[in-house]
């Protein structure tokens, strides 16, 4: 007669299986977290790997002779006695125009020829000048304009190399590709290598990334200054508009509003607004601010207002949470000694809630800083090569500049440029968030 298994045996036979499934489940959970964290690692790793080289830029350190025979120009005019200011101004302008027309390329060619004699050949001017970013001649005439006495002297000058030289020297393009796919001519390739070996071309910190504006003609000197200023303006607008309005709305909803269907609707509405796709705010901006109010396209003012509306719900939700965290006893004590509800709010509750509100506001502003889609719809993707001086000027913004650069046709150069710009953006965002976390830890109070 087969004895049925006792309960103890049944449990024992199943227990191993149950423990195995327990381990399985636990390791799946741990695996999920590790996947998530490794994704963070991969993301940052790939951006750092691509972006960091772009902070160093091939630069030619030349001993450049301002040869008076090549820059054939009259001495800088001085105001003659009896000459009117307007006439003098005209004369100065025409002198500056003549200065700009001088053969700066030949000057650079001659300087390069000191190290690579082959570059001095008369028909090699264009080829030699191709090593240098085309905007860099501006530096030379500015030097002469500032100090005309420099003509005839030999001065050390650092000129940014063209983007193709940069790509070639960093090895970001396959050197074995057939010549017809290369952007540098064979002479230029040879000269770049020689100059690099001689230490004439060095990898310098790319300060132009932070001091120049975007450029279409020469990628190597394109910088982020305009975009940074535009982004800062928009963040200021968000701080001035969204933060006070959001805080005051939160105060009303949390402390003063009667609890009824209307305020319930407002609450649902605010939660919903926080989840509305950002691009819809861009449509709002295009239809209302640009089409209806006729504000200018590409202006930081419009961008800032759109981002403010977008940030508002985040600020309201965070501020309400901060107010809710203040214990009721504080309010009751204030009311008990005769303060009005407004006084209890503004003199007692609000100061205690400010750190929490500030944390929410900083996170909201950081989010707004990284937002791109709504800005595309209000025309901030236009090419702008100037630093905006007022919020009504045309401007770019950091995330949009990244978008524009990734679409640049000189791909192998701009891929690293784009990643470098991302690093700048992430740097600002991480600083803001770290500040928010610091604030939270510093001022957090538990009751």
């Amino acid at each position: 007669m087969p004895q049925s298994k006792s309960n103890r045996e049944l449990v024992a036979s199943k227990l191993g299986k149950r423990h195995r499934s327990e381990t399985m489940f636990k390791s799946m959970g741990l695996g999920a977290i590790l996947i998530g964290i490794s994704l963070v690692g991969i993301l940052f790793g790939s951006i750092l790997y691509k972006g960091i080289p772009a902070f160093w830029q091939a630069t030619l350190h030349l001993n450049l002779t301002f040869d008076p025979e090549i820059i054939d120009i009259d001495p800088r005019p001085t105001q003659q006695p009896g000459q009117s200011a307007a006439d003098f101004h005209d004369e100065l302008l025409s002198w500056q125009r003549a200065l700009r027309r001088a053969k700066w390329d030949s000057l650079i060619q001659a300087a390069i020829a000191k190290d690579v004699p082959a570059a001095g050949a008369p028909d090699m001017r264009r080829t030699a000048f191709g090593l240098v970013a085309s905007n860099e001649r501006v530096k030379l005439w500015e030097m002469v304009e500032k100090d005309p006495g420099i003509i005839g002297q030999t001065v050390p000058v650092a000129l940014v190399a063209s983007e193709n030289v940069d790509v070639w020297l960093k090895g970001n393009i396959d050197r074995d590709l057939p010549q017809r796919f290369q952007q540098l001519s064979e002479e230029q390739q040879k000269w770049s290598d020689e100059l690099y070996k001689d230490g004439v071309i060095r990898m310098d910190f790319a300060s132009s990334l932070f001091t120049n504006v975007d450029s279409r003609s020469s990628g190597a000197t394109a910088g982020l200054l305009g975009a940074i200023v535009g982004s800062v303006m928009m963040m200021l607008i968000v701080m001035v508009v969204a933060v006070p309005v959001g805080v005051m709305a939160a105060i009303y909803l949390e402390e003063f509003a009667p609890k009824n269907r209307v305020t319930d609707l407002i609450e649902v509405n605010i939660n919903n607004l926080a989840a509305v796709p950002s691009i819809v705010f861009g449509l709002l901006g295009a239809a209302v601010f640009i089409n209806f109010f006729g504000l200018p396209l590409s202006a930081p003012l419009v961008g800032g207002l759109v981002l403010s509306l977008m940030t508002l719900p985040t600020v309201i939700i965070a501020s309400r949470a901060a107010l809710r965290a203040v214990p009721p006893s504080i309010r009751q004590a204030a009311l008990g000694i005769g303060a009005s509800p407004t006084q209890a709010m503004f003199h007692h509750t609000l100061p205690l809630a400010v750190p929490g509100m500030l944390t929410g506001a900083i996170i909201g502003v950081a989010q707004a800083l990284g937002e791109t889609a709504p800005l595309l719809l209000i025309g901030m993707n236009a090419f702008v090569a100037s630093v905006p001086s007022t919020p009504l000027d045309q401007s770019s913004a950091l995330p949009v500049q990244i978008y524009l650069w990734q679409g640049n046709e000189n791909r192998n150069f701009f891929e690293s440029r784009t990643s470098a710009a991302i690093l700048v953006l992430l740097g600002v965002m991480i600083t803001l968030n770290a500040f928010a976390i610091f604030m939270r830890h510093r001022f957090e109070r538990r009751w």
Partner: protein, 457 residues
């Protein structure tokens, strides 16, 4: 510079008024020997309000009325022939405004236009003086009225508090106003679009081929929504396939298994993913993930486009992981401890407790979190702009390039923004569709999450 100076003047005047009010209340109290109802600063503020508000009202009235006066003046100078032709009228009006603003105009302006400009210039001058005078009178009168009211019994504090409350109400109203603004502006332009293209063709069309607006109204494009909606759905499904298992398991581990130390480090690390701007994910997808996937595909014999629904979906999934995990984490940790203890008491292991007790109990809330994540995926723009490939055709292959609603909105509205052609107006119809879809998802999700959170409290 000019605005700075006027701002400074206004601030000086207001601080002067404030001091006057405060000191007047003190003087009165001292003279009558009575206690003031409110503290002196409230009387000062009361005066400031009465000084500023009338002036602001005058200013707003002026800004609203001035363009109409200007239009009337321009009309009075234009010949009858121009007035009868609406197109000519608007072009001439704009021309006169351009001359007035110092913008160079093409051709030589007519003498009557110059005459109009001259009148407008002097009118503007007079108008500004009048504004200044009126605002000053209003401010002064307001201040005097308020000053006369100051007496020991006057309840200045209550007045100020009412004013503060008004400001607070207006600020909360802005959130509502934003929603109303979105609905009205998007709906208005969408209705204009539907005068060109019938809603049936839009909502049920299977071809998306808008053509360029320059081909004229005769070259009507085809505006079929379905390929875009399908592309959006496909990417969203792929994204959820990535985000849901990873996010949910991570949340379970964090809330049930992890010790406080591990949690302290792992949670913020995961949440970094939520703080990264979407343009960064877009670049990551386009430069790193896309090429990798396409190479990987050719290794195993699959043809994967570098920019495809697959690439965009995976990267979007990564973006949503922290969203799913932190919302689920919240909800799982709200399941009461008694339920866990009961399950352990019956001899269940921890994983059995989680699978059979905690997750079913938290399920509605988790579903709410998923819906919020779906709505975020549908509305996401920069990842799909850079990585989905922008090919608005109906395809069932996730490795092909697709297009989405958001990509198309960006494509139709960037470049020349001429709000008159169906080619750009369609962006608003798409935006309306997007808004309605995400609104429904959000409302359902918010309802579920809210209702569920109250259940155990």
């Amino acid at each position: 510079m000019n605005t700075m100076i006027s701002l400074a003047i206004i601030l000086i005047v207001l601080s002067f008024v404030y001091t006057w009010g405060a000191s007047a209340s003190r003087r009165i109290a001292a003279k009558t020997g009575q206690r003031l109802h409110s503290r002196p600063p409230y009387y000062g503020l009361y005066l400031v309000l009465w000084c500023a508000i009338p002036a602001v009202i005058v200013f707003i009235a002026y800004t609203l009325l001035f363009p109409q006066f200007q239009a009337a003046i321009i009309d009075s100078y234009l010949p009858q022939a121009v007035l009868n032709d609406p197109a000519e009228l608007s072009s001439q009006t704009r021309q006169i405004e351009n001359i007035l603003n110092g913008v160079s105009v093409i051709g030589t302006p007519e003498p009557y236009q110059l005459e109009a400009v001259r009148t407008l210039r002097s009118f503007e001058w007079i108008g500004r003086l009048a504004l200044l005078a009126l605002a000053a009178v209003a401010a002064f009168a307001g201040t005097l009225v308020a000053r006369r009211r100051i007496s020991p019994h006057f309840r200045a504090r209550n007045r100020i508090e009412t004013a503060i409350e008004m400001v607070l109400i207006v600020c909360s109203g802005i959130a509502i106003l934003t929603t109303v603004g979105i609905v009205l502006s998007v709906l208005g332009e969408a209705v204009r679009f539907f005068t060109y293209v019938s809603p049936v063709d839009f909502f049920f069309g299977t071809t998306w081929n808008p053509r360029f607006s320059t081909t004229g109204s005769s070259g009507q494009g085809e505006f079929g929504l379905l390929p875009l909606l399908w592309g959006t759905m496909m990417i969203t499904i792929i994204a959820m396939c990535v985000a849901v298992p990873v996010g949910l398991l991570a949340a379970v581990y964090l809330s049930e298994y992890a010790g406080p130390k591990f949690r302290f480090f792992a949670k913020p690390l995961l949440e970094i993913l939520a703080g990264i701007p979407t343009i960064v994910y877009g670049i990551f997808a386009a430069f790193t993930v896309g090429p990798f996937l396409s190479e990987f595909g050719s290794m195993v014999g699959l043809s994967i486009n570098a920019t495809s629904a697959f690439t965009a979906g995976i990267v979007m999934g990564i973006m949503i992981i922290p969203f799913v995990s932190s919302l689920s984490d919240d909800i799982i940790s709200q399941v009461p401890q008694a339920m866990r203890d009961g399950s352990y008491g019956l001899g269940a292991t921890q994983s059995e407790t989680i699978r059979k007790v905690i997750l079913p109990a938290a399920l509605p809330g988790i579903v709410g979190a998923f819906l919020l994540a779906v709505s975020r995926a549908i509305g996401e723009t920069m990842i799909v702009v850079l990585a989905a490939g922008n090919s608005p055709v109906l395809t069932a292959n996730p490795f092909d390039a697709v297009s989405t609603v958001t990509v198309t909105i960006v494509n139709q509205l960037t470049g020349d923004t001429d709000f008159a052609s169906p080619q750009s107006l369609v962006a608003f119809a798409l935006g309306l569709t997007l808004f309605v879809i995400t609104l429904c998802l959000n409302v359902v999700a918010i309802y579920i999450v809210r209702k569920y959170r109250e259940q155990y409290e």
